[in-house]
């Protein structure tokens, strides 16, 4: 309802129909991370349908694949900026890609909004670089704090994927948090993308009897880790990072997923009209529950649309300025604003999986 209000303000500027704009999307659509890209583009498409129907802005999405590779992301960005002359860009999916594309967008003066980049330093790439995904520095401490409160944690084991930016960045935060909270780290173990066998490291962790396991993993690996850990008799709770948070965890690990604590901007079961309607529509359109990637992308496009609306034009600079101005925007993720650097400001929710469901962790 808030959206409608803000929308109302902008209406005056486009008396002669909706503001037209082209938004480029760089997404990871082929290759091992295609599932992320798929969720993102689904979220975007859904948002755009709604926006079109609302009729205040008329956005055309130009979606390009980056295959998760920097060069391809860069080429895609160049294509969008210089051939398709888009007015703003959403994406790319990976922080590594953003590191390459961000400066180039800055140079071209095109606003770029990351909806899934959680590594440190992304908004700092330039004035035109924004993100609406919460960084791990925000999510992980929130989750760990709550877990410590509840379970009286003294000893933790840390587990992380060391060959991936996302999980490695998450680990750096976990290490810091453990230090800040005076937790004893009994062991730190690493694994690699697409690994199948986690038994050796879990066996070791089990023998050290931690009270809590901090696991910086993407859900793909994380779910398998949970499954193998529970089978082995490790029943302490897990705290995961952003990437661990996905309904897929429950699909893959089943009962074993219970006890996973994550802090997330996105909670599909939230008692909120917007969220409910989004989840419903998304399920209807794509047959699965939206994960945070879809939700962040969905909100991302709304944010861009808001900026375009407020700018009242598709001028690249005007869009940037308008986006920086966005305050307390109500999306499916919650209330969002940007700080000076272009990073998101919002409160994450801490969730735990219980009874094969995400519920709010109190």
């Amino acid at each position: 309802n808030d959206t409608k209000d803000t929308g109302g303000q902008a209406n005056e500027s486009n008396s002669d129909g909706p503001v037209k704009a082209t938004v480029g999307v760089i997404s990871y659509l082929t290759g091992s991370g295609a599932s992320y890209g798929e969720a993102i583009t689904n979220g975007l498409k859904l948002a755009n349908e709604e926006l079109k129907a609302a009729g205040e802005v008329d956005i055309e999405l130009k979606i390009e694949d980056s295959a998760g590779k920097q060069e391809e992301a860069l080429t895609a960005a160049q294509k969008l900026m210089n051939s398709d002359n888009v007015d703003a860009i959403i994406g790319p999916t990976l922080s590594t890609e953003m590191f390459v594309v961000g400066p180039e967008a800055e140079l071209n003066g095109v606003t770029i909004l990351g909806t899934s980049n959680t590594a440190e330093g992304v908004p700092q790439l330039g004035d035109y670089v924004f993100r609406n995904s919460i960084p791990e520095t925000m999510a992980i401490p929130a989750a760990v704090e709550k877990a410590i409160e509840k379970y009286d944690v003294k000893k933790v084991a840390i587990l992380y994927g060391n060959d991936d930016v996302f999980t490695k960045a998450g680990y750096d935060v976990m290490k810091q948090v453990a230090e800040d909270k005076n937790l004893e780290v009994v062991t730190t173990q690493t694994f690699q993308l697409n690994q199948s066998d986690y038994k050796p490291l879990l066996t070791k962790i089990k023998s050290l009897e931690p009270d809590l396991i901090l696991a910086s993993a993407l859900y793909n690996e994380g779910a398998v880790i949970l499954d193998q850990a529970r089978k082995m008799g490790i029943d302490v709770p897990f705290v995961g990072g952003n990437g661990f948070n996905s309904p897929e965890v429950i699909t893959i690990a089943g009962d074993a997923s219970n006890g996973l604590i994550v802090a997330t901007p996105w909670f599909a079961q939230k008692d909120d009209e917007k969220v409910k309607s989004f989840v419903e529509k998304y399920k209807e359109a794509y047959g699965v529950e939206p994960d945070q990637f879809a939700a962040q992308a969905y909100d991302g496009l709304y944010l861009i649309a808001e900026a375009i609306k407020n700018a009242g034009t598709n001028d690249r600079d005007a869009i940037r300025d308008a986006l920086a101005e966005v305050k307390d925007f109500e999306g499916v993720l919650g209330m969002m604003s940007f700080d000076e650097e272009g990073d998101i400001v919002m409160d994450p929710t801490v969730l735990i999986i219980e009874g094969n469901k995400y519920i709010e962790f109190e």
């Binding site: 798929e38 173990q189 490291l201 066996t203 070791k204 499954d227």
Partner: protein, 294 residues
């Protein structure tokens, strides 16, 4: 913990063995490293998922379907990626390597479309069955995997060294036209070999699904690379070498994680082969073929 890790290592090693045997067999006969084998193995694993989870059929059906499907894939691989290269003038020895890499790229991406990019659960009641000795829990799956690895190896070894067909296979490996002059139907022999190796990949795929509950389109690459390292470790085309190499690698990886730095786990295989190749270029069990003579 030592015993548990030992079991972990043996389980992993046994899976590596079954993957590596597929490579070894094809290399032994065709002198070709079949880079598509890993992806065929991955398809085997997905068959397990589809049959047990999506269709809800029992495990043994999964084995059968996986074997059939991977055998068919093997046939196509031979038919389209290997046969056209055979007996052609001016074919560099890299050509089959590249064309099977083409197959692997194709299959991996096809799997993305067919099954989705992420992990798929592979849960069967059998994979939860276990017994406990002292403080150690042993799963029946682990025993099954070990037994299958041993059986396949023993069967292959017997077949290659003791049977007529095995000898014919080795003859074909060395010189196709000579083998055919000696009465071997080389075309059929080769097709059968690739099919057999692929079916073994299918079995390996299911075993991985059972053991780790982790099936994804990328597993072909990660296991495939290990498989390659193993056949080099054990000596190309050597069945016993594949067995020993696989078990050693499984144990080594496990113990690096248990007592060393888990960050280097993926490097172990290759550090080992680099060392082995420098010390013993023909692999642990490879026989030094005296170079061509003057």
């Amino acid at each position: 913990m030592l015993i548990e890790q030992l079991i972990n290592g043996l389980t992993l090693g046994s899976i590596y063995v079954v993957v590596a045997l597929g490579y070894t067999l094809v290399f032994g006969v065709l002198n070709i490293v079949n880079m598509g084998h890993g992806e065929i193995f991955m398809f085997g694993a997905f068959m397990g998922v589809v049959v047990t989870n999506s269709l809800g059929l029992p495990l043994y059906v999964a084995f059968i379907i996986a074997i059939v499907v991977t055998a068919i894939l093997g046939y196509f691989l031979e038919r389209f990626a290997l046969r056209p290269l055979r007996g052609k003038e001016g074919v560099s020895h890299l050509a089959p390597l590249i064309s099977t890499i083409g197959v692997s790229i194709f299959l991996e991406n096809a799997a993305h479309h067919l099954f989705g990019a992420g992990n798929k659960p592979f849960r069967t009641s059998f994979s939860d069955m276990s017994f406990t000795v002292g403080t150690t829990t042993i799963y029946y799956v682990q025993i099954l995997i070990f037994v299958i690895a041993i059986l396949l190896m023993a069967g292959l070894m017997f077949w290659l060294s003791k049977t007529k067909a095995g000898k014919a296979l080795r003859a074909s490996a060395e010189d196709l036209s000579v083998a055919s002059l000696l009465g071997v139907n080389t075309k059929r022999m080769i097709t059968q070999t690739v099919i057999l190796a692929s079916a073994m990949g299918g079995i390996a795929g299911i075993l991985v699904g059972l053991a780790f509950n982790s099936v994804n389109p990328q597993m072909g690459l990660s296991f495939g690379l290990k498989g390659l390292a193993i056949i080099i470790l054990g000596g190309l085309g050597n069945v016993r070498g594949a067995m020993v190499g696989g078990l050693i690698l499984g144990l080594a990886e496990t113990f690096v994680v248990a007592y060393g730095d888990s960050g280097y786990r993926d490097a172990i295989a290759f550090i080992a082969i680099i060392v082995i190749l420098i010390v013993r270029p023909q692999g642990i069990f490879g026989t030094a073929t005296s170079g061509s003579r003057g």
